[in-house]
């Protein structure tokens, strides 16, 4: 069967199970867009290519599938770099297809030409420049395989225009085999026995779970391990939802803005089992003071994460789900009464830390941002998909919305990219049309991709935006308050839009609350609407996120409210 490049591309994509592409057309991809008209793949037209990548990212995180974007060459491609870098840092499976100038023009400074493969080399798991249409089917299949296997990540395919419209005899490609790429999924049994032994002898163990638990779909196995052995669990920002927030063993998030008891437990435990984490600096604080009394077990699929930041007693390379299953099998059941007795002093100590500080804040006549998130949690019964922007809004969302299930908290953790939340919410709503999807935003962040209001309304996606509006770039203002003598250099946004008018200008619903008693009615009306909604909450202007571990300090040295 003779097909052109564009047809082969769409055929292989469909065979990979893709039903949605987020994109923005341009000269070098017109042929592909023309073919898309004949395909059953849904295309979501965004308003900025950055929005396409963040939307594909949100789609991937909320569905467990690979997110796909299609953009043109030159500026279209460069506009995807931020989104790709964010997906790379958070290990999200994406395939980004960029158009490119025809092969004979490459390297000639042609119109809308950039070396996107060169530019994204350091922020993609892998990337390809296709020069021959006969390589297309194999490369696209490989790209999907790489995106979703091992430690997932974004893969970019650069397709020159003449490759998209070259015809060739289509030959289906067999299963992907890459001789140099063989991730280790099954953990080493000897290492696991050592882990079992450590667990049996530990007096004050904790589990530290991360994004890997969610990517590996291992939350059930994690719950089994933690509950059968009564081991308290904390998580990084990326791990929230991997273990139920309502479980009595839950310690809260760990790290720079983690809970008091999580940071103290990590610092005084004698065994820390890290699963699907990378011991990032936001978590560890001063690395040589981190978990200084503990033996550390590190279970991760990526060997480069192990022994990168903290010394590890027992490294285990493997998939989190498979490793936890094997661990659960190896662990002998312990008599419940003696286990309770053994854990009691540690559990009591943790309770004492919880009694000392558990994210309490002062209610005043102003709307407190923490209150908005708490009310949102209550009114959605903790079942909404929450995306966030970056900064204080992100931290309050992580602290006050308690996640019981995975794939419900979608945030730019590693890169910390403002403008991520709204397009990611759009992607999540496309993936999960029956769910309520809420973007918790700041007034600064929301403006970075506000143009996606048009996307949401074009596809009738009832995404809810909750703006914690304090007129500042809040997180930076907080640092300036605490460490720079309140010199608010360029963090006060003297000009901001009327968000109600802005919502209505796009055809959406705009609501505002200026007093605490207005919060609940506004949330109720917004959540019930079938339109895209912006809810503008005018919150206390100089509220800070607490606890806070100052940069470079040990996580025991927290500033408290």
């Amino acid at each position: 069967m003779e097909l052109n490049g564009a047809q082969i591309l769409l055929k292989v994509i469909q065979e990979e199970g893709v039903d949605t592409i987020f994109g923005f057309p341009g000269g070098m991809v017109i042929d592909i867009y023309d073919e898309l008209e004949n395909s059953s793949i849904q295309h979501v037209l965004v308003r900025h290519e950055q929005g396409a990548v963040h939307a594909a990212d949100g789609y991937a995180r909320s569905s467990g599938k690979v997110g796909v974007c299609l953009v043109t060459s030159g500026p279209g491609a460069t506009n995807t770099v931020t989104g790709i870098a964010s997906a790379y840092m958070d290990s999200i499976p994406l395939v980004v297809i960029t158009g490119q100038v025809p092969t004979h023009l490459i390297g000639n400074d042609a119109f809308q030409e950039v070396d996107i493969v060169g530019i994204t080399r350091s922020c993609t798991k892998h990337n390809y420049l296709l020069k021959d249409v006969n390589d297309l089917a194999r490369v696209v299949k490989e790209a999907f395989y790489l995106a979703r296997s091992g430690r997932p990540g974004p893969v970019l395919i650069d397709i020159p225009k003449n490759v998209s419209n070259s015809k060739t005899e289509y030959r289906p490609v067999g299963p992907v085999k890459i001789k140099s790429y063989n991730p280790t999924y099954e953990p080493n049994k000897k290492q696991l026995r050592k882990v079992v032994d450590l667990i049996a002898h530990a007096e004050r163990p904790i589990i530290f779970a991360g994004g890997g638990i969610i990517l590996s779909k291992a939350s059930q196995d994690l719950r089994e391990l933690a509950q059968s052995l009564q081991i308290p669990v904390t998580a990084s920002l990326m791990g929230l939802g991997g273990f139920p927030g309502s479980d009595p063993l839950w310690l809260g998030m760990i790290g720079m803005h983690g809970t008091y008891r999580a940071n103290m437990a990590a610092s005084f435990c004698d065994l820390l089992i890290g699963i699907g984490v990378r011991f990032d600096d936001r978590v560890t604080g001063k690395t040589d003071a981190f978990a200084s009394q503990a033996k550390i077990v590190h279970i991760d699929i990526d060997p480069t994460s192990i022994r990168k930041n903290v010394p590890v007693t027992i490294p285990v390379v493997g998939d989190c789900g498979q490793t936890l299953k094997k661990l659960n099998d190896l662990l002998t059941p312990v008599d419940a009464a003696s286990l309770s007795a053994k854990r009691k002093p540690w559990i009591d100590q943790i309770q004492a830390w919880k009694d000392k500080n558990n994210l309490a804040y002062e209610q005043t006549e102003e709307i407190k941002p923490q209150y908005v998130v708490e009310k949102l949690y209550e009114l959605t019964r903790g079942e909404a998909i929450i995306t966030t922007e970056v900064g204080q809004n992100q931290m309050w969302a992580a602290q006050y919305y308690h996640f019981d299930q995975p794939n419900h908290f979608i945030t730019s953790g590693g890169l910390g990219c403002m403008g991520f939340g709204f397009p990611a919410a759009i992607g999540a709503q496309v993936a999960q049309p029956q769910k309520i999807v809420v973007d918790i935003a700041g007034d600064g962040s929301i403006q970075m991709n506000i143009q996606e209001m048009a996307t949401a309304l074009q596809y009738k996606l009832p995404v809810k935006i909750v703006i914690l509006n304090n007129g500042y770039l809040g997180m930076v203002r907080q640092w300036q308050e605490l460490f720079y003598d309140k010199r608010y250099a360029n963090t006060c946004m003297d000009c901001g839009p009327d968000f109600i008018k802005l919502a209505e200008a796009y055809g959406g619903l705009g609501l505002r609350a200026t007093k605490p008693e207005e919060v609940e009615p506004v949330l109720k009306e917004g959540l019930a609407s079938s339109k895209t909604v912006i809810m503008d909450f005018l919150v206390a202007k100089e509220e800070c996120v607490y606890p806070m571990v100052p940069a470079g300090a040990p996580i025991t040295e927290m500033l408290l409210a």
Binding site: V117, G118, R121, S122, K125, H126, L129, L146, I178, K179, S180, Y181, D302, P303, T304, R307, K308
Partner: protein, 162 residues
């Protein structure tokens, strides 16, 4: 912790951009490349890259792991121990005024290297051997005045058992 020189050799896909990936990894993560040699092997789809880096042991562990993670890197080995044959080559353009010519030629003979170009005032010497031999030759030629040097960087092959 002490930084030491390590020779890493890797087999990679012979494709455009692969060298750029490897060098980009080093520069992005702040690792150091002292020298680098790359050429195809007997298999035209596979190239060998031999790289000398200066790092302490924990850094070296990270470097090796990061390199192995690259999709285009097929195999990687640290050649720093005794179980490898190591060689470098250099072309050295040395001043040779009439009074020095005999001495230069004597040094060339002692080191068993060759003169591959000669002019009224200079010789170009070709030398191959291990790093110490080349450094020693350069040291002896320095008083005469070395005009320019082109060095290859290390090549290494593992001494297979039997």
């Amino acid at each position: 912790m002490d930084e030491e020189k390590h020779i890493l050799t890797m087999l990679v896909d012979n494709e455009p951009g692969v060298l750029s990936r490897i060098v980009g990894l080093f520069s992005a993560r702040g690792y150091n490349i002292e020298s680098l040699v790359v050429a195809p092997t007997i298999d035209p789809d596979v190239s060998r890259i031999t790289l000398v880096t200066k790092a302490n042991l924990p850094e070296l562990e990270q470097i090796e792991k990061q390199l192995r993670k690259l999709i285009n890197v097929i195999k990687l080995r640290d050649m720093s121990g005794k179980k490898a044959v190591k060689r470098e080559m250099a072309l050295i353009c040395v001043h040779a005024k009439p009074k020095d010519r005999a001495e230069v030629l004597r040094i060339v003979s002692i080191f068993r290297c060759k003169v591959v170009d000669t002019g009224l005032e200079h010789f170009i010497i070709e030398v191959s051997g291990n790093e110490d031999k080349i450094n020693a030759l350069i040291k002896l030629l320095k008083p005469m005045g070395i005009e320019k040097i082109a060095r290859t960087g290390a090549l290494a092959l593992y001494r297979e058992p039997n």
